[in-house]
Amino acid sequence: MMGGAGPLLQRLDELVRPSVTLAVDGQVVTALEGDTVLTAVLLHGAALRQSEFGDGPRAGFCLMGACQDCWVWTEQGTRLRACSTPVTAGLRIVTREVPWPRLG
């Protein structure tokens, strides 16, 4: 559900960094070390989540941890603020809230 055609963000510099792979809604996404989850997702698509009020997709807004419009979830159900969470190898996130934490 990453939405839209093509990425929202554009890399301008700092291209020489080790790569990191993560999974977004089951799809493999390659990012670079030091990227935030928001950067990693928006370099591939144009949305982070859907508004709960049916007014469409959202892709963060402030990038400084103030608006909370960039929430995503791990597959285990932990909420992450995408703009202030660095990517880590093997991270698996979903862009829709998991109704109940999966136990075990």
Partner: protein
């Protein structure tokens, strides 16, 4: 007697200088910041592994950035640094902090709040469409991630940051479609006498305009934004120019912001008295010349209380720390000339007044927003709903309107809708904005991790 415990919240320019003065006086303050590293907003650091030099990141402010970073590094081992720690409640001499999913209660003798600011926003139709970011966000994408928010970026708003970020984008090689300033060109001329107190900043401002001009970026003054277009992503922006003509710009991203909004929730929770500041058109905690709030033991510094910029934040941090020492009966360290700091701050205050004249908050645009404009991003509340609560339900101020409509109750806690919401409410009732009051802060000041373990000290 045990050494008094002093906490500094915020490791930007204000918090850094405050901690430095406290350490010089022999104290070991606790410095708490939500960010992974020190620097605050303006001197925000890039992640480990990034290689751009300070000149590329901070431009003309590279020297200052190095100085503030260096000052903080010199404190290591002499302060208790709590990075990635959110201060979320402040009451009766106790600060509550979340760090790594754990809750901590920190008692203190004195606390300095140097919590900075966020972008001040006004809503326009379409501002939730992906590709729309705050101006600050556009800058953070560049500084901290080496990314542009789009391929062809439209900058909209008013204030120095508007021109600064647009010029930084040009310098970094991004395409800037246009700069749209809601302030009329004449406003800047009217502000010159006030702004002349800091000629170096005027020169820096002129240099930014020159860079935009040389790059062929159109700059429009006196615009009224009408709507951001696009369904699942931004495709353009429609505005009315100063001559009253409607124009459409193609672009896949919008960076928007109208100067800053003080991050003052902790001061509010502590019970500090606020006053409406006519210059910045917002409610700010009241302080004396050195940063003492109305609550004993609580001090304020930087953009969280003065909104006078980074240099003023450094001076305010020093003054607040000096006030803490004085109130504790400790001698201030050598080299702190309070009189001179106060004089410099007064000069920067004049410049701030000049900025407010040059780049006024466009309350009139907000009052005229169409009823279907989403004001609250979190709960999707429209201008029409707010207006109805003002008239039909007779909500006289923001906290009543919040109870009726949920505006400001969402997860940003009114950071992005509070000021514009007050403007809409007041206009619907034919009253000045301050009559609508301000949304009272609630703890936690930001959503906490779902499961938080309680740590007993």
């Amino acid at each position: 007697m045990a050494a008094p415990r002093v906490i500094v919240v915020g490791a930007g320019p204000a918090g850094t200088r405050a901690a430095e003065v406290l350490v010089a006086a022999g104290l070991r303050p606790v410095v708490i910041d939500e960010a992974a590293d020190n620097g605050g907003q303006i001197y925000r650091r890039q992640p480990a592994g990034f290689r751009r030099r300070a000149e590329e990141l901070y431009g003309t402010e590279a020297g200052r950035a190095r100085a503030v970073h260096g000052a903080f590094s010199a404190l290591r081992g002499r302060i208790e640094h709590w990075p990635q720690s959110l201060a979320w409640q402040l009451r009766d001499g106790t600060l509550q902090v979340e760090r790594g999913g754990r809750a901590h209660r920190l008692d203190f003798d004195r606390i300095i709040l140097a919590t900075g600011a966020t972008d001040r926003l006004l809503p326009i139709p379409g501002w939730t469409v992906p590709g729309t970011f705050s101006l600050g966000a556009a800058q953070i994408a560049l500084k901290a991630q080496a990314c542009a928010i789009g391929r062809r970026v439209i900058f909209l708003g008013s204030g120095p940051l508007l021109y600064l970020v647009a010029a930084q984008y040009v310098k970094a090689g991004a395409q800037v479609a246009a700069v749209l300033d809601t302030a009329p060109a004449a406003a800047r001329r009217a502000a010159l006498p006030l702004m002349a107190v800091r000629p170096s900043l005027l020169i820096k401002g002129a240099a930014l305009l020159w860079r935009l001009k040389r790059a062929g970026v159109p700059v429009h003054h006196g615009v009224a934004p009408l709507r951001i277009e696009g369904d699942s992503r931004v495709s353009g922006l429609v505005f009315r120019d100063a001559a009253g003509r409607e124009q459409r710009l193609e672009g896949d991203a919008v960076g928007m912001g109208w100067h800053l909004r003080a991050e003052s929730q902790l001061a509010d929770l502590a019970g500090c008295t606020f006053a409406f500041d006519e210059v910045s058109r917002q409610w700010l905690p009241r302080i004396d010349a050195d940063g003492r709030s109305s609550v004993d033991g609580v001090y304020l510094a930087g953009d969280g209380v003065r909104l006078a910029g980074a240099d003023a934040a450094e001076l305010g941090g020093k003054l607040a720390a000096r006030a803490v020492l004085q109130d504790l009966g400790l001698p201030p360290p050598a080299g702190i000339d309070a009189e001179q700091l106060r004089r410099s701050l007064a000069r920067m205050e004049r410049f701030r007044q000049g900025l407010a004249v040059a780049f006024p908050w466009p309350g009139d645009i907000i009052a005229k927003l169409s009823d279907d404009t989403l004001v609250c991003r979190c709960e999707a509340i429209t201008a029409g709903t707010l207006r109805r609560s003002a008239t039909a339900l007779e909500a006289p101020e923001m906290n009543r309107a919040k109870a009726f409509t949920r505006v400001g109750m969402g997860r940003c806690q009114g950071r992005f809708c509070g000021i514009a919401g007050a403007e809409i409410l007041a206009a619907a009732r034919g009253e000045p904005m301050q009559a609508a009051g301000r949304i009272r802060s609630a703890a936690p000041v930001k959503p906490l991790a779902v499961a938080i373990e309680v740590e007993t000290p």
